[in-house]
Symmetry: C2
Subunit: 283 residues, 2 copies
C-alpha cells in the first residue's frame, strides 16, 4: 500500500491505475478505523481493481464547539489495517493541502441539511458535501463506499451525486454493530465503561420501534414515545432527536404505512453524541 499526502500524488497513482483499465473504488474516512470502516474497505477490495482510502479529519464539517481537536487519531493502526485489507493507496492529506487559505466555494445540500443531525449541527453537511466533492474530483472513483450508520450523510451524498452529475456510484453498506448491538463509531472511544453500557439505549430504542411496527403499530408518535422510554431508562443518556422520516426526502412521516421509513436518533451519553438508525419498508 502506498501512503501519500498530496493531491498531485493521488492524481498520478490513480491515473496510472486507470490507464491500466482498473476500476477505482474509494472509501473516504476520518480515520480511527473500526469494523464499520473495515466492512467498506473489504467490499471495495472485492468489487474494484484499485482501492483508495482517504484518512482526513475534515475541519469544515465540525462546528466551533464540536470535537475537532480531540477527535480520535490513530493513523498507525489505520494504515496497518488498510494495508492488511488490501487498500492500494492511502491518502492522508494535511488540512492545508485540502483547504487553501482563501478557499470560499462550498457545496450546500439545501433543504436536506435542515433535517435530523443538520438541525443541531449547522454547516456540518455543507462541510461533508464540500470535502466529498473535492475528494471525488481528486480521486475520480467509479464507486464510493459509505456506511448506513451515517444515514443522513448517505442520503445527502447520493443527492449530491445526482444533482451535480458526479460520475460516481454510491454503495451504502449496513451498519456494523458490537455483539451487544451498539453501532460501531469512532466516538465510542469517548465512553466510560458505565456510559458504554448506557449507550445501548440507542439500539434498544430501535429494537422497540421495530417490534412495534411488526405488531402493526403505524403511528409515528406512538413509536417515538416508546423509543423515548428506552432512552429514559439509561441515567447518562439525553435525547437530541428521535425521528421517523421518509428515507429519501427526510421529511417526517406521521403514519408509517406505505413508507420507506428511516428511524433515526441522536442521543448524548455523557458528553458523547451518538447516532443510530434503521430503515424499515412499512406496508
Amino acid at each position: 500500500m502506498l501512503v501519500v499526502q498530496t493531491i498531485a500524488e493521488v492524481r498520478k497513482f490513480v491515473g496510472e491505475a486507470r490507464e491500466s483499465r482498473k476500476s477505482v473504488g474509494f472509501v473516504p474516512t476520518m480515520g480511527a478505523l473500526h469494523e464499520g470502516h473495515a466492512s467498506l474497505i473489504r467490499r471495495a477490495v472485492e468489487r474494484c481493481d484499485y482501492v483508495v482510502l482517504s484518512v482526513f479529519v475534515n475541519p469544515t464539517q465540525f462546528g466551533p464547539s464540536e470535537d475537532l481537536a480531540k477527535y480520535p487519531r490513530t493513523f498507525d493502526a489505520d494504515r496497518q489495517l488498510a494495508d492488511r485489507l488490501g487498500v492500494d493507496l492511502c491518502f492522508a492529506p494535511s488540512a492545508s493541502e485540502m483547504y487553501a487559505a482563501n478557499c470560499s466555494t462550498y457545496v450546500v445540500p439545501e433543504g436536506l441539511q435542515d433535517a435530523l443531525c443538520g438541525r443541531s449541527r449547522p454547516g456540518h453537511f455543507r462541510g461533508v458535501c464540500t470535502v466529498v466533492a473535492k475528494l471525488f474530483n481528486i480521486v475520480r472513483p467509479d464507486v464510493a463506499f459509505f456506511g448506513q450508520k451515517d444515514a443522513q450523510q448517505a442520503v445527502i451524498v447520493q443527492r449530491m451525486i445526482e444533482d451535480l452529475n458526479f460520475a460516481v456510484e454510491l454503495e451504502v453498506l449496513p451498519t456494523v454493530r458490537e455483539p451487544d448491538g451498539l453501532a460501531m463509531s469512532s466516538r465510542n472511544a469517548y465512553l466510560s465503561p458505565a456510559q458504554r453500557q448506557d449507550a445501548l439505549c440507542l439500539f434498544h430504542a430501535l429494537q422497540a420501534a421495530f417490534a412495534a411496527i411488526t405488531r402493526a403499530q403505524r403511528d409515528a408518535a406512538a413509536i417515538r414515545a416508546q423509543m423515548q422510554q428506552a432512552i429514559a431508562a439509561m441515567p447518562s443518556a439525553r435525547v437530541e432527536y428521535i425521528e421517523l422520516v421518509d428515507a429519501a426526502t427526510l421529511k417526517p412521516v406521521t403514519g408509517l404505512a406505505g413508507h420507506h421509513v428511516l428511524i433515526a436518533l441522536a442521543v448524548h451519553v455523557g458528553a458523547t453524541r451518538l447516532i443510530d438508525n434503521i430503515v424499515v419498508d412499512v406496508t
Copy 2:
C-alpha cells in the same frame, strides 16, 4: 457536428473521444452566440482535439424578476455557427434534463458572490457555479474557455476549480468588441438604435479610467467620478455600479498603486442591463 440533448449521450461521445486519447475542450454558453463566443470556440478548436459546446439558458442563474423568459434564443443560427467553426459536439439539454424536480444541492461561491454583479443579482453566481460544476462533471473537459467580459464569473469559476479540485484548466479570453468599442453581448439585441448609441458610455467610461491611470491618477474615487460623468452624458443610461477592485479577491481598492485592478461597471440602458470591464496592472 453532433447535436445531443441528453447527459448520457455527452458521456458516451466524450468518453469515446477520450478513449482515442483526444484532449477535450469545452465552451459553455447560453446560446445567442456572437463573436465573443466565436473567439472562445476558435481557441478551443485550435487548442484541443475534441470540442464540446453547451447551449443552455440556465434557469438557476436568473433572478425571479430577470429576463429568463425573453433571453434571446437563436438555436438554428447557433448550431450553424458552431458547426462552421469546428465544434465536435453540441450539447443542448432541456431544463428538466439538467435539473431534476427534487434537486437541492448547490455550489455557492461564498464571499466572492457578494461583490459587483452579485450584489444586485442574489443567487446568480450560485446558479452559475452549480451549472458549471454539473457541466464539468458531465463533460469532464481538460480545458474550459470563458470570456473576460463576465469578469466576476471568470474569477469565481477559477476559484471554484481550485476550491473543489476540478481537474480542469480555465482559459479566459479577451472581451470582443464591436468596431465602436461596445462589448459583444447577447443582451445587446435588446437595445433600440438610440440605446445602442447610449450603450457606448460603458466603453467611454473605461477609456476615461484607462486614460486617467496613464496620466498617473491613482485614486479610485477620482477615477470613479470621471467614469460616472461618461455615463451621465448618455440620456438613457443609469449606473448600477462602478467599481475598482483587486482582480483576484474582488475587494475594493482605494489607491491603485501596486494592484492588479479590475475596473468593472454595470449600467442600465433603458431596460437593458449591460456590463463591461478592463483589468489594469498599476505600478
